[in-house]
């Protein structure tokens, strides 16, 4: 069995040490740091990207909040304007109604005054007519000439009695 040939041992051990040592030196000094730096660069890049994504998301959330705020303010404004307009309209309507009421009331009272005046006038006319009629009747029936004043007094007395 060649494995037990001790004459080759020295050479095998010697070259193993040389080759393994050289490989260890090259790997630990040059090759592995390269791999490590590549991996680290990637790790950092990923971390930075994640960070940036987080940042952007935060910004987007802030923008969204601002948007909500603005929309809310606009809605509140609109609501306030609508309410103010409604109140103004209601006030105007109430004012106009009041004015109309007042005008109607004056017209009614004026009309009532006119009616009252017309009635007084009519009654005056009626009295005069009654006095004239009483004068004429007294003259015709009794042949008495009654003055207008007496007739008026008499008529008034009769009217008062009747009342």
């Amino acid at each position: 069995m060649p494995q037990l040939d001790t004459s080759t041992f020295a050479s095998q051990i010697f070259w193993l040490i040389v080759v393994f040592g050289a490989l260890y030196y090259v790997l630990s000094r040059h090759a592995l740091p390269r791999v490590a730096s590549i991996l680290q660069t990637r790790q950092e890049r990923i971390a930075a990207d994640l960070n940036q994504a987080q940042q952007l998301r935060l910004e987007a959330e802030q923008a969204m909040a601002r948007y909500d705020e603005v929309i809310g303010a606009a809605q509140a404004d609109a609501h306030a304007i609508a309410q103010a307009t409604q109140a103004k309209l209601q006030a105007e309507t109430a004012e106009r109604l009041a004015a109309l009421d007042a005008r109607l009331a004056t017209q009614v009272s004026e009309a009532e005054a006119r009616i009252a005046a017309a009635k007084t006038a009519a009654l005056q006319d009626l009295e005069e007519a009654a006095v004239t009629a009483a004068q004429a009747a007294t003259e015709r029936l009794a042949g008495l000439k009654v003055t207008k004043k007496d007739a008026q007094a008499a008529l008034q007395a009769v009217t008062r009695e009747a009342a």
């Binding site: 069995m1 060649p2 494995q3 037990l4 040939d5 004459s7 080759t8 041992f9 020295a10 050479s11 095998q12 051990i13 010697f14 070259w15 193993l16 040490i17 080759v19 393994f20 050289a22 490989l23 260890y24 090259v26 790997l27 630990s28 090759a31 592995l32 390269r34 791999v35 490590a36 730096s37 590549i38 991996l39 660069t41 990637r42 890049r45």
Partner: protein
């Protein structure tokens, strides 16, 4: 096609052990301190393995791309594989020893894998190579343990919570099992490699021997050789992994004492 007898003789001439023979490529006549340090086929394949590892890592890290290509992925996979192995077995303190474990793993892995090339030489199939690596690992780990814990390191051989009555029995067993580590570690790798290669060679020899008489029956050893080759590739990886894992477990025990 040679005649049957010739081929059989030819096949017989190749012992399955012949592939493990070491012959010098560059004879160093001048013996250093009485040792023959010739550059042999074993040395050549060690150099090839080391060069392959360096080339792979070098070529794989040339582009330094953020999104790795095929070769870079392979290098990163290898790197993370060893790093994770060390991290899960030793923890944070193991980071210092990462270059050594990476060298150990890739050197054995490439030694085993290159050995699968027909006509190549598997330097990990020699006990002296695996034993040298194992004794280095165990010695280094022991020294790290002593350096870190001082005399307290030897409490390693007297497990805590053990009744004093069994100590006289237990401590020698613990010491023995500790001393046997370099042997078990090296023999495991060496025997796996050697047995696999002998098996491959033997069944491949059957193909030649059988096909000299009838071609058809030779299909059976051929199929077996193909299947065994697949198995051997798996073993080549697995044994490199096992060697590295056990070394890391030894390191962990030395650093944390059970």
């Amino acid at each position: 096609m040679a005649t049957g007898e010739e081929a059989a003789a030819h096949a017989e001439g190749h012992s399955p052990l012949e592939q493990f023979e070491i012959h010098p490529l560059i004879k160093i006549e001048e013996q250093l301190w009485g040792w023959d340090l010739s550059f042999t086929n074993s040395s050549l394949w060690m150099v090839i393995a080391a060069v392959c590892v360096c080339l792979l890592v070098w070529q794989g890290t040339r582009e330094r791309s953020l999104v790795p290509g095929r070769l870079q992925s392979l290098v990163e996979l290898l790197y993370n594989f060893v790093a994770d192995l060390l991290d899960s077995n030793v923890g944070h303190e193991g980071k210092k020893y990462f270059p050594f474990f990476f060298t150990l793993f890739t050197f054995i892995l490439f030694g085993n894998m290159l050995g699968m090339i027909p006509g190549s030489f598997t330097f990990t199939s020699h006990i002296i190579v695996t034993f040298s690596m194992a004794i280095f690992v165990v010695t280094a780990v022991t020294m790290i343990g002593i350096w870190k814990h001082g005399w307290h390191f030897f409490s390693f051989f007297a497990p805590k919570g053990c009744p004093p009555a069994v100590m006289p029995l237990l401590v020698p067993i613990e010491i023995l099992s500790y001393l046997i580590r370099p042997i078990s570690l090296s023999v495991r790798l060496f025997v796996n490699m050697m047995a696999g290669h002998i098996m491959l060679k033997t069944f491949a020899g059957f193909i030649v021997a059988l096909s000299t008489f009838y071609v058809l029956p030779a299909i059976a050893p051929l199929a077996l050789t193909v299947a065994l080759s697949g198995l051997e590739f798996a073993i080549a990886f697995l044994q490199a992994y096992v060697f590295t894992v056990l070394s890391s477990i030894y390191l962990n025990e030395a650093l944390h004492l059970h």
